[in-house]
Amino acid sequence: MSILLDKNTNILVQGITGSEGLFHTEQMLNYNAKVLCGVTPGKGGQVVTNNQLPVFNSIRDAKKQFDIHATTIFVPPKFAAEAIIEAIEQNIKLIVCISEGIPVRDMIKVKNMINKSSSILIGPNCPGIITAEESKIGIIPGFICKKGSVGILSRSGTLTYEAIDQVVNIGLGLTTAVGIGGDPVIGSSMIDILKHFDADDETKGVVMIGEIGGNMENEAGRWIKDNMNKPVVSFIAGQTAPKGKRMGHAGAIISEGSETAEAKIAILKECGVTISNTVSEIGSTMKRIIG
């Protein structure tokens, strides 16, 4: 078992003919992900990646030939919201948007549509999903993953890799890692992903990586306290971030008292979440709990 993604997930790539899209499609194929085809409007009929994958003008066209379970989006930010909306309208179950820099206004519209649909959106501005030794959607490096018992969810890209590396090196291994993205408006919240991990038999413990800005970690903490049946280890980045300064992620702006790292850590502790004090203790903290 795993969450959201496994070796049988049929994947489509939107923006497959762009340099990013093409490069990461090849990386996904190298990880044995079942990428079946791609979409780039106006490039229908082409074949990419050593004549393996057909390109279509639209998801609608692709669906005539393939049964698609998931799509990943490598489309420039100007057009990314439209790409997500196309996937929602075509009832794609899992939509993973890697693109960075989508206007908030566009994402509010997307979020309202997602809420009324049966699709799950991960991202945008995220590294995607990897299920160890089965499949990956997005840009998480596959070679650092080994199958095991820890689930990881994170708002940050390279911190996700760091956490994977630590749980693998300490011998616990990974079920699935999900990068949910660092933007102010994202498709899936921490709680959404925690629910999946809680229901997954193979996942024995969850690493939850947050940062300054927003209230998502606090809401997740309260949910964990009331509902979660598995141990959660959390690391919150940005304890030294100066107030009011923007630290790269659009979402990482401290505007209220409860959005600081200190406030989040205090709330998570109250809710029974174990805190990893520094970034280097994520793996060892989890090891101590689930051994």
Partner: protein
């Protein structure tokens, strides 16, 4: 992106929102003529002189002056233009005033605080209004939160109307129903269509003639949406930005200067913050936030060094790269090349993990240059703090 008050008022005017009128200037030679133009064109003896900087609290810092007559205005304008303005938002070093705005003075009956912004937790826009306008709204929010009225707006016309009516009713402003409804609608349209992340009017005033007017305006624009607003891009005032941060952005690097002496260079914003945190954990003070992004190559590493070293406080540099797509051996070669070319006197601690990390460590160890190469973030932070 932040813009100046006078620029924000230009945007408001396009949406037909009544503003306190005036003219900006940046040359002392234009002071006298500008005061006269304001007095004549807007039929006013008294004027207000306002410093134009990207920071709040200008009034308290002495950057806004009411001037009853021409000579007062001359004096105020001459002293404010070019002054170093220190407010709670400029930091202790203050900001040089390169532009001022001279406006008409209005007879004010009542001041309100007004803002529209995005509420992440509710995933919709929110109107924030208070009848304690014109002052530090953060103080009001802290000391008397009941005086802050919030109304959440989703995409529907209905919710906008309900929100406006709720505010009118809570502030007992029924007398101005039509005027307020009209102005609030225009303000929301302005916020929505201009891709604002914040539209703040503090104060929005009722004059003795019962006109409702935006006396001040603070507008932040979603940087990701600037492609839709070429006219707003031209409002960017680079003199308001930290010169090092500006230079870094030209290199494609995301850099924020801090006050410590341990410089750091990291890929990814989250890992960069975590690296700053662990430096602090071991008793050091980070000198900066620097995210080199997804494409850490020889050139970005070299530029990163240049930016970090422009800060004379830096005594040691910690490089922390997790190579996912990035190959660590390439990063290692970039570090060696940069250290050789730039003739460093700060010590350099390097931690490379991920793709080809072993090869990268060998390259660094064999290079013969003075670099401390370590395997874990823990060690890296300890070494970087020790070597200050």
């Amino acid at each position: 992106m932040k813009i100046h008050e006078y620029q924000a008022k230009e945007i408001l005017e396009k949406f037909d929102i009544p503003i306190q009128r005036g003219y900006p200037l940046d040359d002392k030679a234009d002071i006298n003529s500008t005061i006269k133009r304001v007095q004549e064109n807007f039929d006013t003896e008294a004027v207000i002189v306002k410093a134009q900087v990207h920071a709040g609290g200008r009034g308290k810092g002495g950057g806004v002056k009411y001037c009853a007559a021409y000579e007062d205005a001359q004096n105020a304008a001459n002293s404010i233009l070019g002054m170093n303005l220190i407010t709670h938002q400029t930091g202790p070093e203050g900001k040089k005033v390169n532009k001022i705005l001279i406006t008409e003075a209005l007879d004010i009956k009542k001041e309100y605080y007004f803002a529209i912004t995005f509420d992440r937790s509710k995933n919709c826009d929110v109107f924030i209004v208070s009848d304690e306008g014109g002052v530090d709204i953060e103080e009001v929010a802290k000391n008397s939160p009941e005086k802050i009225i919030k109304a959440w707006i989703n995409d529907s016309e209905n919710s906008l109307l309900n929100g406006i009516n709720e505010i009118i009713s809570k502030l007992s402003l029924e007398k101005y129903q039509n005027q307020i409804e009209d102005i609030f609608r225009k303000l929301y349209r302005c916020y929505y269509e201009s891709d604002c992340s914040l539209l703040e009017i503090n104060p929005l005033v009722v004059t003795t003639d019962d006109d409702i007017i935006a006396l001040d305006a603070k507008v932040n624009i979603d940087s990701n949406a600037l492609f839709r607003h070429p006219e707003i891009i031209s409002y960017r005032d680079k003199s308001e930005e930290n010169p090092l941060e500006l230079k870094a952005s030209e290199y494609g690097l995301n850099y924020i200067k801090l006050d410590g002496n341990v410089g750091c260079m990291v890929n990814g914003a989250g890992l960069a913050m975590a690296t700053m945190d662990i430096i602090k954990h071991y008793g050091g003070e980070p000198a900066n936030f620097l995210d080199v992004g997804g494409a850490a190559n020889v050139e970005t590493i070299k530029n990163g060094f240049k930016i970090i070293l422009s800060d004379r406080n830096v005594k040691s540099i910690l490089i922390n790269i997790f190579g996912g797509i990035v190959r660590c051996d390439r990063v290692a070669n970039g570090v060696i090349q940069a250290v050789k070319e730039l003739d460093l006197d700060a010590s350099v601690v390097v931690r490379l993990q991920g793709t080809n990390a072993d090869l990268a460590k060998k390259i660094l160890d064999d290079s013969g240059i003075n670099i401390i190469s370590v395997e874990t973030i823990n060690e890296a932070a300890k070494k970087a703090v020790e070597s200050v």
